[in-house]
Subunit: 324 residues, 2 copies
Amino acid sequence: MSSDAFRERLTGYRSRIDEALLQIAKGAEPAYLYDPIRYVFSGRGKRLRPVLVFLTASGFGADEEETLPAALAVEILHNFSLVHDDIMDGDDLRHGKETVHNRWDNSTAILAGDGIFALAFDQLNRLNDTSVASMRLFTNATLRLCEGQALDKAFETDDEVSVNDYLEMVRLKTGTLLSLCCQLGAVVGEAGDEEVDAVAAFGELVGQAFQIQDDILEIYSDSEKMGKSLGSDIIAGKKTFLTCKAEKLDRSHWREFMQSLEGESLDERIPKIRDYFGKNGIVTDGEKLVKELSEDAISQLEPLPSDVQANLTPFVQYLMERKN
Amino acid sequence: MSSDAFRERLTGYRSRIDEALLQIAKGAEPAYLYDPIRYVFSGRGKRLRPVLVFLTASGFGADEEETLPAALAVEILHNFSLVHDDIMDGDDLRHGKETVHNRWDNSTAILAGDGIFALAFDQLNRLNDTSVASMRLFTNATLRLCEGQALDKAFETDDEVSVNDYLEMVRLKTGTLLSLCCQLGAVVGEAGDEEVDAVAAFGELVGQAFQIQDDILEIYSDSEKMGKSLGSDIIAGKKTFLTCKAEKLDRSHWREFMQSLEGESLDERIPKIRDYFGKNGIVTDGEKLVKELSEDAISQLEPLPSDVQANLTPFVQYLMERKN
């Protein structure tokens, strides 16, 4: 399939998800709960996770209709985690829109997140024969996500976070969800246990690659494309692959450098931070790791049916070419 | 069964739940997520909800072992909602212990609540043959709970909440969960659909009675027994059955009265509020409604097997005699 045809296919999946999300809480009351939920569901995400469910399920021969609840479930779970993470991180913008707690308040956002969480399970209940297996995978993934977020929060005040600690956090926080997408797609497509495990390994590696790439884009993209301020994570003291690597290379040098920027505006700091990462080979290291993880991910697909490979390999290429 | 023997049976169920809760997150990491979860699970609640699951399931012939995951699931769901509600309401004490957000912070409490939510589903996954039906009931109840909490929050700033609005909120917020306990118990005991519906109606009515009784105890009990300050809900502007009734009887008189108390300490206000409710027949109205709802609940049990009646009727009597 040509790269254009593949992108067109993703656009189709994305519209399907966008439309289905708009139907979910339509007309539901009370407004205190459902207005913010509808606001979240009308947001424009990249829908990468449900797309990955569709691609995997299709590779195993499932049709779009039976896959839809699983695809929706992961997108909704992802939205739940964003609403709550944004409160915890005090983020004001998400995909260029005000975050829920910023537009309403913390209480509204906590409750909206809880409702969204329940709606994710509601989708899973719609899977017929495969709902029990899916529910187990889903519940387990949800706990791993919470563990990843916990590490992320704990790392904010931890001075000794190694690159390996960071990669473990990313495995839990981002790897888990992409892995779940592949698992659910495979289960809907009635794949065998070994096949489910193979796509799970693929998804986890893709998730890690994706997050490190995100860390790079967070400082090297432009803010309009990212829908939030560049460098905001780094300035807020969040660990990223790049900061952990900088610490590893020369901790005191990195800390002195960061202290020297205090008081400067974001616009002044960004080019200096880029320069630091560039001169010290840190971006190159990040890009190299993204490439290795992606290749490792693709190699997990070798024992799988050719249709699965044909769907998932271009997905990795597509992710690697993204600019936001 | 004598009242003493019944109480002993409840104590047995309660210990079973207390012990099982302590095992759930034992040794789990990271501490940022699991320390507050263990703290919540080590709290001493009345465990009324899992007790109700055990009583219902036993009435339909299920044994304790197979019922345990369902009983744990509702207790865990209840704990999840308390952790998040306490953040939203800014409550500092719960059962005489510091609330999670008070002991740690909001972010920790949001995430702990999310993890607890996932752990509730994890228990449901352990039900074998009945997990699909249970999951549907559970997911649906979770959404209704969120709707009830949304009404509760929306009512705080709403000047026109009628007694009926209030009862609808209570039906969603408290009735739903007690109804779910009965439904899950019945499903584990392989009851028929009509039997499940009958115990669901029973549970919903018991839940409403329980909440109105709670509204009365909130002002008439003593604070040591309640594990929190008396009257704190009323002072915080929360609607209760008694305040909605006072508004209905004579809105301006009630508002003038409440304004006249401003600046006084809780200890000064409580006896005056009690006096107001007493003189205007408002407590009597509340007690009468609790009695009616309880009787109505018991009448729902008529078509059910005698073992179910023998288990659930004394449970209602037990609830009605409680002092906290």
